[in-house]
């Protein structure tokens, strides 16, 4: 085999002349995590709103929510990011379009990445929230109604508190998917972890060292997030409740 192993490459200075390759990889990880966090906040809030909309008695709210999910679920994430990055600035009125195009990197990549990932993941979160609400017995909503609670009050005090607890496992998968999906943003210039590994590979030709490091980092992040979510699940668990469970989705 004609491959020169050089594990010391991590401590050599990278292409930008200031950081080691190891630092470069961790900077990439930083972008991965911050992108995932911002997109995650959007996804959670929007996804919850959509999930609630799709379970209300209002027919148009249900249809609107379903239309949103169908749109964002049937277009590949990569294509969606291209739409945000290349197409949106051209479709907006001239002033807005120009100010977007004048954004400097990394924000020029970061903002479309966060928006694209956020709205994409919101569709999936809304599926989980909807499933969680529908897993509750009809009697719970009726008990709230019988007490005189209005629709918003029922969602806030009766349905959502239990629904979120039920869907913790699939939400954990969704969080992991979000972190992995940040890698797709490398195609629009975001220098997240996979992009950093790729640039290391391109400059040093130490292919396997670079990708092994990236793989190891993703695995460790995976373990940390899974355990964090498990701790969260335990701390909000309701004593004595063995309720319905909701299955998770694909990747």
């Amino acid at each position: 085999m004609n491959y020169n192993w050089n594990w010391k490459i991590f401590f050599e200075v990278s292409a930008d002349g200031r950081h080691t390759w190891l630092t470069t990889l961790f900077m990439g990880l930083g972008w991965t995590l911050i992108t995932a966090l911002c997109a995650g906040i959007i996804a959670f809030l929007l996804g919850s709103a959509l999930g609630v909309m799709r379970t209300t008695p209002s027919k148009w709210a249900v249809r609107l929510g379903n239309a949103y999910v169908e749109f964002f679920r049937n277009i590949p994430l990569l294509v969606q990011l291209f739409l945000w990055f290349f197409v949106l600035p051209e479709l907006l009125p001239k002033g807005m379009g120009n100010s977007i195009k004048q954004m400097t990197p990394p924000w020029a990549s970061f903002v479309p990445a966060v928006l694209g990932l956020g709205l994409f993941t919101a569709a999936r979160v809304s599926e989980q929230v909807r499933a969680g609400i529908q897993a509750l017995s009809r009697g719970q909503g009726q008990a709230g109604t019988a007490l005189g609670l209005t629709l918003p009050q029922r969602y806030r005090y009766v349905l959502l508190p239990m629904a979120y607890r039920i869907i913790m496992p699939p939400l954990t998968s969704e969080t992991m998917n979000l972190i992995k999906n940040t890698s797709v943003a490398l195609t629009i210039g975001l220098v997240e972890l996979t992009a950093a590994a790729r640039s290391m590979q391109e400059f040093t030709f130490q292919v396997f060292e670079a990708f092994t490091a990236a793989t190891a980092i993703y695995i460790v992040v995976n373990l940390i997030v899974v355990n964090l979510m498990r701790w969260l699940e335990k701390s909000i668990a309701v004593p004595g409740f063995i309720g319905p469970s909701v299955a998770g989705g694909g990747h």
């Binding site: 085999m1 291209f82 001239k94 992991m176 992995k180 890698s183 396997f208 793989t215 694909g250």
Partner: protein, 229 residues
């Protein structure tokens, strides 16, 4: 920005579909077929009572599910030539070609997800079926092949199809290897003619229509199966 020229779509339809979509669909089909077969094998290994089978299978599935598909694409792109050389005994990495590399990548990656689906499917078949198979004298492999797997497979068809639709969308990621799948073809036209808006909107539309139509078919299938049960 000047006016949009949607005529570029019409002019490039041949290239888009004959080159691009053919690649996408071929890749999807091969990866799905190979992925389901390998995935079923992985599922059986995971459910085996032999630790030397279940542990590597579990490790493999967990690994594939922990890292992004893009990283796996890069891995296989660089790894396969070396593995090929090792198998063939050559001294230098052999040229594999983008198509072969991506087929192997997607087969290996999606197999992890297909294996989880098949594992659930196999576990949902009552143990009594297995005992009945043994009772009439079938061995393990015959019982699996003739009794368990056919039922598990039939039960899981809607979920397997849904995963295949996801696979279909994932193939767009071969873009990073400059491969000419459907998105790659659209992108090439877009950059050559300076028509990014038109081409990317069209690409989004096509992916949407195909995925939406397929998921509708899956929904109908699920309703049909539900009635039969």
């Amino acid at each position: 920005m000047g006016a949009f020229d949607f005529g570029v779509i019409e002019r490039s339809l041949g290239y888009l579909f004959k080159e691009g979509m053919t690649f996408t669909l071929t890749l999807t089909g091969l990866a799905a077929a190979g992925g389901i077969i390998f995935g079923t094998l992985l599922a059986m290994m995971r459910l085996s009572s032999h630790k030397w089978l279940s542990l590597p299978a579990t490790a493999y599935v967990n690994l594939m599910r922990s890292i992004p598909l893009l990283l796996v694409i890069f891995w296989f792109y660089f790894l396969v030539p070396y593995i090929g050389a090792w198998i063939v005994g050559a001294t230098r990495p052999i040229q594999v070609g983008a198509f072969a590399s991506s087929v192997i990548t997607f087969m290996m990656f999606e197999a992890a997800y297909y294996s989880e689906i098949m594992r659930a499917g196999i576990q949902s078949i009552p143990r009594g079926q297995v005992w009945a198979g043994y009772a009439i004298g079938l061995d393990y492999w015959q019982t699996m092949a003739k009794v368990v797997l056919p039922q598990a497979f039939r039960n899981m068809i809607p979920i397997l199809l849904t995963q295949t639709i996801i696979l279909f969308q994932d193939t767009s990621l071969v873009y990073v290897l400059s491969i000419t799948d459907f998105l790659g073809a659209a992108s090439k036209i877009a950059q050559r003619d300076g028509r990014l808006v038109e081409m990317y909107l069209f690409a989004a539309l096509v992916y949407f229509l195909i995925s939406f139509a397929l998921s509708y078919v899956v929904k109908l299938l699920q309703q049909k199966i539900a009635i039969i049960r």
